[in-house]
Homo-oligomer: 438 residues x 2
Amino acid sequence: MPRIFPERSATMTNECRLSRRAGWAVGQPIRYLMQEALSRPELISLAAGFVDQETLPLEATQAAVDHVLADRPRAQAALQYTSTMGDAVLRELLLARLEAADGAALSGQDLAIDRVVLTAGSNELLYLLGEILLDESDIVLCPAPSYFVYLGGLANLGARSYGVAVDQHGLIPEALEEALQQLDSSGELPRVKAIYVCTYHDNPSSLTLAAERRLQIVETARRYSRHGTIFVIEDAVYRELRYFGTDIPSLLAADPDGSTVIHTSSFSKTFSPGLRVGWGILPTALVEPFCNQKSNIDFGSPHFTQQVMAAILQLGLYDQHLDMLRDSYRHKLEAMVGSMEEHFRPLSHVSWLPAEGGLYVWMQVAGVDTGSTGPLFRKALDEGVMYVPGIHCYPQEGEPARHDMIRLSFGVQPAERIRAGVASLAQAIEEVSPLPTP
Amino acid sequence: MPRIFPERSATMTNECRLSRRAGWAVGQPIRYLMQEALSRPELISLAAGFVDQETLPLEATQAAVDHVLADRPRAQAALQYTSTMGDAVLRELLLARLEAADGAALSGQDLAIDRVVLTAGSNELLYLLGEILLDESDIVLCPAPSYFVYLGGLANLGARSYGVAVDQHGLIPEALEEALQQLDSSGELPRVKAIYVCTYHDNPSSLTLAAERRLQIVETARRYSRHGTIFVIEDAVYRELRYFGTDIPSLLAADPDGSTVIHTSSFSKTFSPGLRVGWGILPTALVEPFCNQKSNIDFGSPHFTQQVMAAILQLGLYDQHLDMLRDSYRHKLEAMVGSMEEHFRPLSHVSWLPAEGGLYVWMQVAGVDTGSTGPLFRKALDEGVMYVPGIHCYPQEGEPARHDMIRLSFGVQPAERIRAGVASLAQAIEEVSPLPTP
């Protein structure tokens, strides 16, 4: 594979004397994929989890900026530092929105804006949680598969990601129980600091964690918190990107007192990744350490984009945008799945999980190595299509990694290119002539 | 002192099982100062290093946003993810600007935009450099005094800050040499990873590192790089805020081949902290590890504010703003120093360093404990004025900390409040009736 950077040489490392953490920071797999995409402009990338370029909210952003800048005191505030936690108006709006979505289910929570923090996307939030919770060799349980950027962040922290099996309803509570039992037996339970779950339309699997499992998972985490709290990190970033079916209450709402679940989300997928506004609701006990850590990194994310997002919500532009976006993505999801049904029907070793939202379809080409050094990836590039090899999405330990999975994204490409990409992928799969496993 | 958060209790730490790093993350001193300021709205704060509210660039920002959003492809790019390194257009503009400022002095450098990175203010850049360079107990040499947020960041990383003496020309090369010799004798030289210097109108001392010392410091760092590179981190954030005298070439320009000096800067002080755009020029060997680390935290700072800053530069609005800003701050600096000359003349134990730029005046009240638990701080609050106790600005080791220093900022307050604040401070100093040291 071409790499953006040459492999780090021993000499260089030695001269620069990089930290141990730098040695743990492997480049994200998306970087080689992005490089590949840049070097072949004609390629149909079904890899990137970017949002659709055509639906980016130019007019809404202009209206919100105008709104903020027309109000002199507000404009001055937006151009000044904010607090480490972030703009209070936006934090209020986010809390109200979550309360409206979860309703009575949140009644056990003592929700207040002093538990809400704003970050540079939810990614910074996830990383900062790692900084304050994880020492080297600490363990985070993750569904197998999981969001690969999160797994990379854990590796960067020297932490261990431990995979737990999923089925079509998401993380399996019994598998979680079993993993915890096993870690307890081996004396490693004190190392388990958190359980990470993307609870809606997961990246990469598109699975939504079933409502009845949410309570069970929180209960399990609490029951095993004998050596200290095992936090449950809810990544709800795709919650509002649902195109079929109905919304269910958050994992946070399954937390009886708000001391276990950390709720994280972002406007990067639902509005604009260029504004980079993420947010979280933390258990009270984590607020101080989180802010201390963030104050050393950037003492607060950009106030300007926070104020712009607040105005977008206040002016009703966010919900308008969401409606349009859901229509657009529903159409593209249908194009992808329709095309998959058409082209993969003759291929009995190809299957995929149903998607009700999000940006991804998670498919299997049974028995075929889909990795970047395997036969299919290169053949697919030759056919003009790129995907994310599923292998990047597996935790380091626990539930074994599968080598025959593929993440397809319908976010970036228009419907006709999605269909062309799927056709090319089918062509590539036929060419590598796999021996289907029974 | 009131604190934003209660002291961390043993129980809480135990239940949450915070990381060792979280234990190292002390809250920044500015947080208790901000809290104090918020709880007493009538207080004249000469503490915060915030920029002047009245000069924030509302119109320029509006014009730049309009410019970006009127160009559809550019607007779409601005609302989409950028690369981890940041927007290429802005990186080009920054490089051209530095080349224009430093001229022929940069001739030894192989400058190219693949050495330029954009971050959330220069603070994130400084912290990320720490992440990739510093293991626990590694050493960074810093002028005594230094920027306290940077010192806090080092502590958060478990690193040691080691103070080196300064005089009116900034860091003393002979003192640096002596510190390195001493660390070499004690076998700790292999632990020394970097030297940090705020090279223009330092925070807190307002000192500018003399031109003839720049080569000497780079040469010294290279001579002691026997166990691997000792990087010199140049914080040039106040370079363009010069109100008297003439600019001198950067420390980067004193690096014969660009492998030693890391140049960092930001638009937070010279344009808007709310846009939060910082930048750096890295030695080539650090680019990959830096980007790997950043890709795990936020894979790129907000593209939107980067594009807005690029437009501000392209439209000539930045230089216009700088001209206005320099006039405004020059006026306020004169107000502060004029008032100090008037009120402190009878107080023979009060002195301060001359300031030619930046946002600060660094003063001594010889023999008086200026700390937050000492007599003067409380008395000053009673008189209605707040300052930053100088003690926060000293590294942990090396050159001893002074307990009788004060950082005053003329950034936020209008001239008449600066004069009133200085008068109140003089009143407080007289009241604590110090015994001047000879």
